[in-house]
Symmetry: D2
Subunit: 432 residues, 4 copies
C-alpha cells in the first residue's frame, strides 16, 4: 500500500514516524496559520507544531531578526560560552517577563528539548533535597528520555523504555478521582508515615495537561499543592513547556494563581520560531549546580536566543498583544462551548475542556475524535486529538491567528463534527 508520493519516507524512514500517518501531506511552505503542501493545497493550522509555534509559522518580525543575525555571521553554535545574543536574551527576558511579574529566577539553558529541561529539573530537585522520589500525576506527559519518561503516565510509552522506570510515584491530578473527592486530601494522607510513599524531592505538574486530555488545575488546588510541597520539604516544579509562552492567555500558565514554583520548565514556543530551545527558571536559592554537572552540545542555541528575544519584545512588551489574545480566546471558547452543546445531543458526555488557546472538546471516544480530525483534514484544517483514550479534539491555534482564519477553521471543524456525528446518528437509526 505504498503511496508513490511518500515512498522515500516509507522506504527509508523508521516506522516510528506518527503524525504523518494521520496527516498524509508533504509540507512545503508555511506562514502564520496556514500551511502549504507541495501540491499547493493549503491547510489552516490549529496544531501549531504541538504548541511550538505560538506565534505562527515564520513569524515576520522574528524572521527579520534571525536573517539579519545570520547575514552578519553572528555566532550560531557556542555551547555555554558567553555570547552577545545570549546576554541580550537574558536581559530582555528578565526585564520584560520576570521582573514585571515579580519573579526572581536564574535561567539554565538545558539541552534544547523539553524532555531535557525536565531531566535537568529533576536532577536539581534530587540534588537539593538529597531524595529520589518525585511525585508526578495521573495523565502526565513530561518526555521520552528515561528520566522524564519515568514521570510520564502513558503505559505504552513507558513500556518503550525497556527497563524499569523508578523514582517516581503517581498521584491523582485535580478531579482525577471525580468531583466528590479531593485528590489532594488523598495525596496528603498517602504521604503520611505509614502511607509507604517515600519523602518526595519534588512535585512535578502541568497546569494544563497537553497529552493527558486538557485537564487543568485550579488556583486553589495548586496553592494547596505548593503548601503541601513546602510542608514536606519538596520542590514544586511546573512543566510549562506546552502551556507556557502565552498558550494559557498569560505568559506563564500559573500567572494569576499566586504560586511561586521552585523550578519552571520552558521549551516549545520559547524561541518563537520553532527552533529547538529550552530553559529552566530556577529559584536562585536552589541553584546549587556544579559547573557542567548537566550539559549538552546544543544547550546554547544562538539563533533561538535571537528569535526568543524578538518574540518577547514583539509580543510581551506591551499589554496590547495579551488584550487581543483574550478577545480571541473569548470568541474561541464561545464557539467551542456551543459546539460541545450541540454535540451533547448525540454524545451526552461531550464537554468543553481546557484553558486559553489550549482547549477542545471531549467527544466520548477515540473513534469519533479521530474521524472528526480526519474529516477536518480533508476539508483543509489540521487539528489533533489527545487524552488517554484519544477522545479529545484538541485545538492549539497560533496566538497570532487572524480572527477570520480562526473563524474559518472553526467553520471547518463544525462541519467535520456534523459530518461525523450525522453519520453516527444515521448508523444508530439504521440499527435501531
Amino acid at each position: 500500500m505504498l503511496d508513490q508520493k511518500f515512498s522515500i519516507f516509507e522506504f527509508y524512514e523508521s516506522k516510528v514516524r506518527s503524525y504523518c500517518r494521520d496527516f498524509p501531506v508533504k509540507i512545503h511552505r508555511a506562514k502564520g496559520s496556514v500551511i502549504h503542501s507541495v501540491e499547493n493545497y493549503s491547510y489552516i493550522d490549529f496544531f501549531s507544531g504541538a504548541g511550538a509555534l505560538n506565534y505562527g509559522h515564520n513569524c515576520e518580525p522574528l524572521k527579520k531578526k534571525l536573517m539579519a543575525y545570520l547575514d552578519d555571521d553572528g555566532v550560531t553554535h557556542s555551547l555555554d560560552f558567553y555570547t552577545e545574543a545570549k546576554e541580550d536574551f537574558i536581559k530582555t527576558f528578565q526585564e520584560k517577563i520576570l521582573i514585571p511579574r515579580n519573579m526572581r529566577y536564574k535561567v539554565q539553558f538545558t539541552g534544547p528539548t523539553g524532555t531535557n529541561a525536565v531531566e535537568a529539573a529533576l536532577k536539581l530537585a534530587r540534588k537539593v533535597t538529597k531524595r529520589t522520589n518525585v511525585i508526578a500525576f495521573s495523565n502526565a506527559f513530561h518526555g521520552m528520555s528515561l528520566g522524564s519518561l519515568a514521570a510520564t503516565s502513558n503505559p505504552k510509552k513507558r513500556q518503550g523504555a525497556g527497563v524499569s522506570l523508578g523514582g517516581v510515584t503517581f498521584m491523582p491530578y485535580e478531579r482525577y478521582l471525580g468531583e466528590h473527592y479531593d485528590s489532594l486530601d488523598f495525596i496528603d494522607q498517602m504521604l503520611k508515615p505509614g502511607g509507604g510513599i517515600e519523602a518526595p524531592a519534588a512535585f512535578l505538574i502541568e497546569t494544563i495537561q497537553g497529552e493527558g486530555g486538557l485537564r487543568c488545575v485550579s488556583a486553589n488546588w495548586l496553592q494547596r499543592l505548593q503548601a503541601l510541597a513546602r510542608e514536606h520539604g519538596a520542590l514544586l516544579i511546573i512543566d510549562d513547556i506546552q502551556s507556557g509562552c502565552g498558550r494559557s492567555g498569560r505568559f506563564f500558565s500559573f500567572e494569576e494563581m499566586d504560586v511561586a514554583p521552585d523550578i519552571i520548565c520552558l521549551s516549545k514556543s520559547l524561541s518563537g520560531y520553532g527552533l529547538p530551545f529550552s530553559m529552566n527558571l530556577i529559584n536562585p536559592d536552589f541553584d546549587i549546580w556544579e559547573p557542567g554537572e548537566h550539559n549538552g552540545t546544543f544547550r546554547g542555541n544562538n539563533l533561538a536566543f535571537v528569535t526568543a528575544k524578538a518574540a518577547v519584545e514583539e509580543f510581551w512588551s506591551e499589554p496590547v498583544f495579551e488584550q487581543a489574545l483574550h478577545q480571541k480566546i473569548g470568541y474561541l471558547h464561545v464557539r467551542l462551548e456551543a459546539l460541545a452543546e450541540r454535540t451533547r445531543l448525540l454524545v451526552p458526555e461531550a464537554h468543553f475542556l481546557g484553558r486559553g488557546f489550549m482547549c477542545g472538546i471531549s467527544v466520548g471516544s477515540e473513534d469519533i475524535a479521530s474521524k472528526i480530525s480526519q474529516a477536518a483534514f480533508s476539508a483543509g484544517l489540521i487539528v489533533e486529538t489527545c487524552g488517554v483514550h484519544g477522545q479529545v479534539v484538541k485545538l492549539l491555534p497560533a496566538l497570532t491567528i487572524e480572527l477570520d482564519i480562526l473563524a474559518q477553521g472553526l467553520d471547518i471543524l463544525e462541519t467535520a463534527f456534523d459530518q461525523v456525528l450525522g453519520f453516527y446518528s444515521y448508523c444508530e437509526e439504521k440499527t435501531a
Copy 2:
C-alpha cells in the same frame, strides 16, 4: 569577584555554566575557524563547538541555502510530518552517503540532541532483544539524560543523576587494561554463564572516545566485538556523534573497519551549521518501532534538513574534500607528534592520541593541560582538554580550516606548551 563585563551571566545564569569559565570571552561573530569577541578580539577555533562545527562557523554554501529557505518561508517546525526538506535530505543522504558505502539503513529523526539519539538507540535495542542490560565501556560518554547517563562512566556526572543508574554494565575499552592484556578476552570470559553479567541487549561504543581521552579502537578489535555481539544475540551500536561526519577523516569513523553496526547514532556536525539535529541509522530488520513509541517536539528540524543536505552535497559528493582533509590530517599529526616528542623531554609519559581531526597530546596531568589551554587562549587560540583526569590537550579543528590558520593555531599551541613546560622545568630546577 564579579567581572562587570559578564555580570548579566553571573547574576542571572545558573552556576551550571562551564566552558565560559575557562574561556571568559563574550562572542559576537564567527566565520570559518575564527571567532570574534564583542571587543573585537579574534580567536582561532580548535574546538569547533565540541565537534558540532566540522565545516566551521557559518559555512557559506550552507548559509546561502539556509537563508534562501527562510526567505521563502519554507516550513521550519513540523515534528514528524512529511516535508519537502526532509525528503530532500533523506534522498541526498541515501544517495551520497549510504548507498556508495553499501550501507543499508533506515533513518530515525530523534530529538535533536545526541543524548536523545542514544536514548532512542538503547530503547530500540532493548525492544528488539527483550533484554535490559547494555554493555558500555570504560571512559565512555554518551549523554546526560538518565538513559544515556547510565552508559556514561564519569563518576561526578553519574552522581548528578540523584537516582541509581541501572541497566548498564561497564567493560574495559581496547587497551584499557594495558598493552599486555586483551580486554576482549576479558569481556568474553565475563559474559559466560557464571560471570554474573546479564545477557546484553547491546554493546554501545565510541570508536574514538571524545570526553574519555581520545582512545581509539582498532579495526580488528571492533570486528571481534561485533562477532561477540552477534554470538550473544546483542546489537552493536556505534555512537558516532562526535567522531562521525568526517571528523575521523571519513564520513563514518568506522568506514574502513569492515563492520556493520546495527544502529549508528549521529548528531553534532550532522546539520553542518551547528543546528540541533540528530539521527539514528537503523538496520531495517530491527526497525520494529511502533508509531510514536519514541517522540519529541523538535524531532524534525527543517532548517537542519536544509543545511545537512547542503553539507553532504558540498563536501561529500566528490572525493576532493576528503583528499584535502587527509593532507591536512597528515600535516596536523606530524606537527603534534613532534610536539609530543618535545614534550616527552620534560613529561616522559606524554604521547600523541587520537585519529583524524580528533586528536591531541596527553601531557600527564590536568594541571599542565589546563595551563596550556589557558596560555593558548591568552594568545588567541581556543583548545580544550579532556580525559578522565583532564590530562589531554584535545584538538578538534574544523575540517575546512585553511592550512595557514591551522599552522598559525599550531604555532600558538607550541608556544603555549613551551611557556607552560618551561615554567615547570624552571620550578623543578629551583626545587632540585
Copy 3:
C-alpha cells in the same frame, strides 16, 4: 550505663537488638503463657513471640512428639529431600486443614522465615504474570529482606535498605483514607490507563495489620479487592504470617470472607513450637516453578514438620478448640472494649482495634502506649505496642491461655492503664 546483668549482650551483641531494650529481663524457662527469668521472676506473656507462639511456650503435646522424634534420631535437616516427617505433615495439613475448608492448594516450603515466604510469593506472582509491579498497602509490614522490604511501608525500615526499593506501588488500605472515602474506588481509578500505575503482578495484603496498627479488612472490601485483582489479571496474595494459624479465631484469617487467594503465606505459629518454618500455599494452576528456582538450606525443617503436624492434630482436628477460643475472644473483647471506654474519658480518640486474639487499644500517642507497656512489664506482664506512631497497645495472647491467666494479665493491664492515665490526668490538672 552498662547493667552488669546484661554486660555480655551490651559488650558483644550488635546494637540492632531491640525488644530486649524495652523488656530488660534475662529469660530462662517458659511454659504455656508464663515466662520465667533467670532471677525467677515470672511474666504473663501477652506477646507470644510476636505471634509465633499461638499455642504457648513448650506446648506439652507438641513437645512429646518432638522429643520422641529426636530421641529416635529422626532426620533433622534434609533440604527438600523427601522425608517421612514431611509426608506426614503434608497429609495431615491437607486432610485436617485444607480439604475440610474446600481449599485446593499445593504447598511450598520456602526458607524458614516469613520474609522468605513473601519473597517466594512475589517471585512466583511476577513469573506467572510476567509483570513486575506489586500493589502493597499503607502501613504494611512484610519483612526485611530487599524483596519483602520493598512492600513494607515503614520509612525507617525502608531507609535501612541502602538501595532504592522498586517494583512496589503503595495503595491505601481499607479506611486508610477515612470513613468517607472508599479506598478501593481510588485504587480502581489509579489503575486505569493514565493513572500511571503499571499493571500489577499481584496485590499483597495482610487481613489484619500486625505492625501497622491492627487495622482489618472487611469481607466485602476483600472480595472487591479480589475481583479487582482478577479484572487486572493480577494475583491476590494474603500474608497470613501473623494473622494465620488461629490468631483471628479461625485457622486462616480470611476463612469466613468468601475469597480464594492465589497464594497464602504462612509462618510464625505454623510449627506451633516457635521453630523457624514457613510455607506458601499456592493455587496449583500457578505452580509453574522450575525445580530449585527458589531454594534455601533450611527449607525443610523436619522438627517443625513434626510439631506442625502435632499442632494440627491437637488443636484443629475437632471443633472444640475453636469453640473454646471463641469464648476467650469474647471475654477478651468485652474487657478491652470496657478499658477503651474508660480510657476515652481522658483520651477521647482511644478505641478498640483488631480481631480475634490479635487486638488492642489505640491510646493516642506513643508516649502513653509505651508507658503503659512499661508499667505492665514492671507488674509482670509482657505486652507490646505497634502502629506507625507506636500508639497502639497490642495483645497477642496464646490461643491456649488459661482463662484465669488471661484475666490476671488483663487486671495488670488495667492497672497499668490507670497508673499511666492517672499520671497524665494529674499532670494535666497541674498545668491547667
Copy 4:
C-alpha cells in the same frame, strides 16, 4: 509417571522441589554419616545437608544438650530478648572461637537463614559507607532473596527474581580469567575513575565457592583484595556460610590467610544440628545499626544457641578435633587426587578442586558428573554435583565421619566413576 511411593509430594508439593528429584528416597532416620530410608535402605552421606551438618546427623553430645533443654522447658522462641541460652552461647563463642584467634567482633543474630545474614551484611555495609554498589564475583552464590540474589551470578536464579537486580557489580574471581592474568589487576583498573564502576560499599566473597564449582582464593590474593577494599573505603565481607564452621579444616576458612574481614557471615553448620541459625560477626567500629533496623521473627533460635554452644565446646575447645580432621582431609585428598589422575585417562581436563572437606573432581561435563552421582546413589552414597555447568562432583562429608565410612564411601565413588567412565569409554570405542 507418578511413583506411588512419592505421590503425596507429587500431588501436593510445589514443583520447585529439586534434590528429591535426583535422590528419590524417603528418609526416615539418620545418624552420623548414615541416612536410613523408610524401606530401611541406608546411604552414606557425602552431602551433609549442603554443608549444614558438619558434625553429622543427630550428633550425640549436641542431642543430649538439646533434649535436656527441651525437657526443662527452656525458652524456645524469644526474638531478640535476652535469654540465658543466648548469653551462654555468646560467651562460649567469644572465649573458645574468637578470642583465641585474636578476633574482635560483635555478633548479630539475623534471620536464621544464610540469605538473611547476607542481606543484613549488605545493608550494614551500605549504611556504613553511604554507597550502594557492592562488588560480587563470578560464580558467586549468596542466596535467593532479592538482596543476596543480586549478588548471585547464576543467570537462571537471577531471572527468577522477576525484577531487575541492581546495586551489584560482578568482577572476576581469582583465576577466573585464566592462569595468565591476575584478576585483581583487572578489578583495580576497572575501579579507577573512568572505569565506570561506582565506588563500592563492599566486596562480598566466598573463600571457597560452594555452588560455583569449588574454586578457592589464595591467601595472597585475598590479602590484596582486602588492601584494595581499604584503599577504596569499602568493607570486606566474607560469606563463610558453607566454607566456615570447620569445613575448610579450620573454624574459619580464612584463618591462616592473615586477613581481617569487616563482616563475616555464618550459618549452615553454626548450630551444629541442622537447625536454622545465622550470625554475622561485625567489626565493632561498624556496628552502627539502629535498634530493630534489621529484624525478623526467628532471629533468636534458643535451641540453636544450645546446640551451637555444645558444638563449640565439643569440637573446638581442644586441638584434638582439628588434628584428627586434618588427617582425614589428607586421606581424602590423596584418594581424590588419585581418582582425578585415573579419570584424566579418559577426560583430559579432569582435576581435583577445593580445600579441606569441601572438595571434589571436575569431570568435564554435567552429563558425566550427573551419571556418577546417580551411579553412586544406586550403590548407597549421596554425593552432589556443582559448578556453573554442573561439571563437578562435590564432596561435603561430615567432619566427624569415621575413617572406615569415609573409605567405604570413596570406594563406592570410585566404582561409580569406573562404571560411568567405562561406559563412556565403551561408547567411544564403539563409535571409533
